[in-house]
């Protein structure tokens, strides 16, 4: 579904410029769930933005469904790192936005929106304005919005960064079920190694800026995952391996 | 030399001939005056501004000055140059309009805030018409000519000597004059505040007399010289000498009344003023009763200077 070869992204020019991505090559098939892990500032968000067609790569080719990306692809759902809620709409309207923009009748999607909000534990905030929400609540609204139209390609940039462990676990389970059922191709940026391993069919680890792929790890855990899988030895193996990769990249002095 | 600041009634037109002529001929200097001449934008503004002491002397239509006087502005006329009412209705020459009676159903442009406005009813009444028998269009002074010349109006009320020459070039016109229908009051002349009359009496006398003398000289067959003087003083204004000359020529017909016919130029008549004040009062334009002596003085016309200059003895 996605094929990146030697994607380079530079911001600015010359000496003062910053190379965010430096030769990313990656293939992602239909229905895969790929997590991107990497140090802060390594270019994960930039890569998602290139895929979403809101940033253009400086070099290399980036194909989605065999076509070069030159704008947001069909059936895209995206959750931004900074939630990007619209202050002037209430929570429900924010979630219904993709339907509205997609030219669909909002009324038809209201049940779906309410269902997603309920899943995210926001039943009682359906009619609140974004300014009245806590940081984690905003993130959850943004997540619901990205899921509203059952996207074929789901790009999520640290959607659970501001959530407590419990809510996060809950949403991990829900997201896993959802993407499994719909066979959604998902690219998921996170800083939680266990979250990445739990959710993914593959985990891609980026090096510090300029972002390069350090390793592309296939996660061979059962397709259907329950939280209990995190107690398994394989799971621990994967997380340990990834943690090792991180430690090799930088040294922690204390 | 005594300095004097003068504010004129409008932007350059034929009426300004004696001022620029006197300056050009060095007559102000000769009479020990240092004169600055500023253009204006309407008699009303000139009366207000001069009346409040920004200038030593103003040149404007004197009827508005009298009105201002009655409302408490301490101004007085010191010379009368255009002593007949110069306001009239301009109509196309071929329209067959000879008197107010012919105006039924016509569109007439006028300017609110200028002196024609309060007398329109009485002008129409002279032809046994009322406001409802005609269509009155109020347009600003600047828009009047365009409205008239483009045919949007069948007639326009304005200063005849000013307006007739300018529009005649494009639309052959004649005038029906207010003065011929009982609406007689003085038009352009010099005025000053009582304070400056007191403190600068001498300088003002020389000034008024020089201007009056020059007017007499110009109207006495030296109209081209007058026109040329205006053009020389305002070289960039692209003034048309033919138009200026015609304006000056037209002014001549309005310059004297019966009562002043044989007086030196600039001298005003108390009888003229009394009847004018009556007419103004009837128009409801005067607040307090004003007497003729209060609104004018002939003390500031030096007959000798006027006579000398009128005779071309510069």
């Amino acid at each position: 579904m996605i094929r990146a070869s030697d994607v380079v992204k530079r911001f600015g020019k010359g000496d003062k410029g910053v190379t965010a991505l430096d030769g990313i090559s990656l293939e992602i098939g239909e229905g895969e769930f790929v997590s991107l892990l990497g140090p802060s500032g390594c270019g994960k968000s930039t890569f998602l933005r290139c895929l979403a067609g809101i940033e253009t790569a400086s070099a290399g080719t980036l194909l989605v469904d065999g076509k070069a990306v030159d704008g947001p692809p069909d059936g895209l759902g995206m959750a931004f790192q900074r939630d990007a809620l619209l202050d002037w709409f209430d929570v429900l309207e924010n979630v219904l936005l993709p339907a509205d923009f997609g030219g669909k009748r909002k009324r038809d999607f209201e049940p779906r929106a309410r269902e997603l909000l309920a899943m995210a534990g926001l039943n009682s905030f359906v009619n609140a304005y974004p300014r009245e929400l806590s940081g984690g609540m905003r993130q959850r609204v943004a997540m619901c919005r990205s899921l509203l139209l059952d996207p074929r390609l789901l790009l999520m940039d640290e959607p659970f960064g501001a959530l407590d462990a419990l809510t996060r676990d809950q949403l991990n389970v829900d997201l896993h079920r959802l993407t499994q059922r719909q066979k959604t191709t998902t690219i998921f940026v996170t800083h939680s190694i266990s979250e990445a391993v739990f959710l993914s069919t593959r985990v891609v680890v980026f090096s510090p800026r300029p972002g390069r792929i350090v390793e592309d790890i296939r996660i061979d855990l059962p397709r259907e995952r329950r939280l209990a899988v995190r107690e398994s030895a394989e799971f621990a193996g994967y997380t340990r391996h990834i943690r090792g990769l991180f430690e090799k990249m930088g040294l922690i002095h204390d | 030399a005594d300095t004097l600041k003068v504010r004129l009634d409008w932007t350059p037109w034929g009426n300004h001939a004696p001022f620029h002529f006197a300056a050009q001929k060095g007559l102000f200097k000769k009479y020990n005056l240092d004169v600055t001449i500023d253009d204006g934008n309407g008699s009303v503004a000139t009366v207000q501004i001069v009346g409040n002491g920004e200038y030593d002397v103003g040149h404007a239509s004197l009827a508005p000055m009298a009105i201002a006087r009655s409302k408490g502005l301490p101004v007085k006329a010191i010379a009368g140059f255009v002593q007949k009412n110069d306001i009239g209705l301009l109509v196309p020459a071929d329209a067959g309009i000879k008197s107010p009676a012919d105006l039924k159903g016509k569109k007439i442009a006028f300017t609110a805030g200028s002196l024609e406005a309060p007398f329109i009813d009485r002008f129409l009444a002279a032809g046994k018409l009322t406001r409802n028998d005609v269509e009155l269009l109020n347009v600003s002074a600047a828009a009047k000519a365009g409205t008239y010349m483009s045919g949007s109006a069948d007639g326009a009320l304005s200063s005849v000597p000013f307006f007739l020459p300018v529009v005649s070039a494009k639309r052959k016109s004649t005038s029906v004059n207010f003065a011929d229908y009982g609406l007689q009051f003085p038009s352009f002349g010099l005025f000053a505040t009582e304070k400056s009359i007191e403190t600068k009496k001498d300088a003002l006398r020389r000034f008024a007399s020089v201007v009056a003398g020059c007017w007499a000289y110009i109207l006495n067959g030296h109209m081209d010289e007058g026109a040329q003087a205006i053009i020389a003083a305002r070289p960039q204004a692209k003034l048309d000498p033919a138009v200026l000359r015609e304006q000056i020529e037209n002014i001549k017909a309005f310059s004297k009344t019966k009562a002043t016919e044989n007086e030196p130029f600039g001298i005003q008549a108390a009888s003229d003023w009394s009847s004018a004040l009556e007419i103004l009062a009837e128009g409801g334009l005067l607040d307090q009763k004003v007497t003729a002596d209060a609104v004018f003085t002939n003390d500031l016309i030096d007959k000798k200077i006027v006579a000398d200059l009128a005779a071309g003895k510069f």
């Binding site: 900074r82 990007a84 619209l86 936005l97 923009f101 | 508005p64 502005l73 200028s114 600003s140």
Partner: protein, 260 residues
Amino acid sequence: MPSALWSGFRRSSVPLLGALVFIVLWEIACRLFAIRPILLPSPTMVLRELADSPAWFAEQTVYTVGITLAGFGAAVVFGVLFAIIIVEWKLLERLLFPLFVGLNSVPKVALAPLFIIWFGVGDTPKVAIAFLIAVFAVVIDTALGLRSVPPDTLDLARTLRGSRLKVLLRVKLFCAMPHLFAGLKVAMSLALVGAIVGEFVSSQRGLGYVILSAQGMFDTTRVFAAIAILAVVGVALIEAVAIVERLAMPWHHSADRGGH
């Protein structure tokens, strides 16, 4: 509720106080320096003038306000549309905006005579002048507003692949609203001035006509009576815009609740 009434009263009493102080100072100055009424009438004289023929003044005011609102309405409709056009199509902006700025720099007072010839002497030229004077502020402020969408929000809109119209209606217009209303306040004030200028050029009615005729007769008191009405009308019209603004942006209120 009585407390709400009381606070409402206190809220409006302060501006009234400001105006009152101004008027009292003016009255005192007039009396102290014995200023001639032809130069500057005292507030009591102006009030007496107004009290003498309130119905007539009201009639003139209604006419002028009508012209103002018509010009303002036209400025809002055209101004917002034009702003949208130049923001949406860069090329059209480059093509039309300088022309628009140029035309706007032409003083309407100078063009007014032509307006009468083009539009006749009815209400149209006055509305046109009010419109022309007011429209620039609407265009500039709306264009700024439409461009003030935060980058994150623009990215979101792009990924949702909404039509330009949807992005405009659901995102840009909302972002533009505070700016739009600032522009509307300036425009309202300018439309009022424009209506007066229009009436100066040609009119048989309205406060501009009142001012012009009164000036011609050195009736400064009446001039100031009309000016006083204009000041009050100006405050009322702008307050009306502010009320619409508050109604149009409920989400701004909810922010107040937070106690910032």
